[in-house]
């Protein structure tokens, strides 16, 4: 029995974005032969990912994927999970696809997963010939491989991190209203917050700075803009010990 194995190593990126209405994720269309009717082409969706190069750090592979996709570096990036079950690429559809693109379908692939945060509006996506786009996380069903599980874990990791670090600002423009901030928390946790309770929580975020500027050209009463101050946050961030269990 061959006890050890040498798998392929890849990196998958779960790239979240917020468009003031819902939580979105970047997915790529994959064309694949219908396992029932081989002549028929069907398509499904995958996360963005790639293999890790020889001599490349795992995190650098994730940064390369993000850069190729957006042209940007310095995007928020966090490793949250590694998947490597022997069965993860064993569905008929995935096996057919692996063969088609010239991979050994028996090969095991271990994938180190990262999540990233972007402001949907400020990004132009590019990815050669493949169709790519933002999808609501609620509509991201029946993903290829085990990408549905990876996405589910990424959402949990994002929620958890948001409980003790204000990383949500990575998905907002520089200035935003409190209503927009509340909506961000609501779509990440998939709950509705009472406005008064939310404002009470917000009033304790001493790194949230009100600006001398209000919305323009809106039909309702224009709301004040706020901004996130990393400096103030870092000055006051002994929050780690403020455990709430």
């Amino acid at each position: 029995m061959e006890k050890q194995f040498h798998p392929n190593i890849s990196v998958d990126c779960v790239i979240f974005g917020f468009d003031f209405k819902k939580l979105n994720v970047i997915l790529v269309e994959r064309n694949v032969h219908d396992p029932v009717n081989g002549a028929k082409q069907i398509s499904d969706l995958t996360l963005t990912g790639n293999h890790v190069y020889f001599d490349e750090k795992l995190e650098d592979a994730a940064k390369r994927i993000l850069f190729n996709l957006t042209g940007l570096s310095g995007i928020y990036l966090e490793q949250f999970f590694t998947t490597g079950d022997p069965e993860r690429l064993k569905s008929v559809k995935d096996q057919v696809w692996l063969q088609k693109i010239g991979k050994d379908p028996r090969e095991r692939v271990v994938s180190v997963c990262y999540f990233s945060l972007l402001n949907c509006d400020e990004i132009t996506l590019k990815m050669g010939n493949r169709k790519i786009g933002w999808y609501s996380v609620k509509e991201a069903k029946n993903l290829a491989f085990d990408h549905g599980t990876i996405l589910g874990n990424a959402i949990k990791a994002l929620q958890t991190k948001l409980l003790y670090e204000p990383i949500g600002f990575e998905m907002l423009p520089e200035k935003f209203t409190l209503t927009q901030l509340q909506k961000l928390y609501e779509v990440v946790f998939d709950v509705e917050f009472d406005k008064r309770n939310f404002r009470k929580k917000v009033s304790k975020m001493n790194y949230l700075v009100p600006l001398d500027e209000k919305q323009k050209g809106v039909s309702h009463k224009p709301a004040r803009y706020y901004t996130f101050s990393r400096e103030l946050y870092e000055k006051n961030s002994s929050a780690m010990f403020n455990f709430s269990i």
Copy 2:
């Protein structure tokens, strides 16, 4: 240029334990040739780990390591980090050791890391010929490979998790005093808590059940014993939305 690579996959386990005084971790002694004087044997310490078998799930490899070490299954286990930098095994000492045990020292090793929680007192460790034992995390310096970094990340992961889930009870006996519970939080976060403030926090843990039993044979005033009720915790655990940012 060979762009893809097929590394060795291993699992490393950071096994934490609490002995009522400090936070401990299980380490294994490694005998290695002194890179300066090859005739001389020196020893250092590593985390417990092993390679992943062909057809074995990553988590099952971690469970196997824990079972072989303690004879127990069902130990608290959590994946927190994967390390795979090309340079992580490239120190002279590690290269000499890899060669000695018959591994290809040029091979890259990706390691999926888990942390586990044990009650030190209730475990008998076994590991064949190799010396193994509990070490205070504060004294765990100059570990082999990048195991110092892994241990540092594990401590951060444990602290973070403890902020929103009462996993500390995994390291306590079934009944414990509030002073013991406070000490547990203090050694994990490496801070001292004010007794009154800590008791105030504790009074909100409605899953902490006072028992009709007190310490016996102690020189000070005997303290009441408490126990952790998983049932009560799970009934009330909408704490996820109680974010404290």
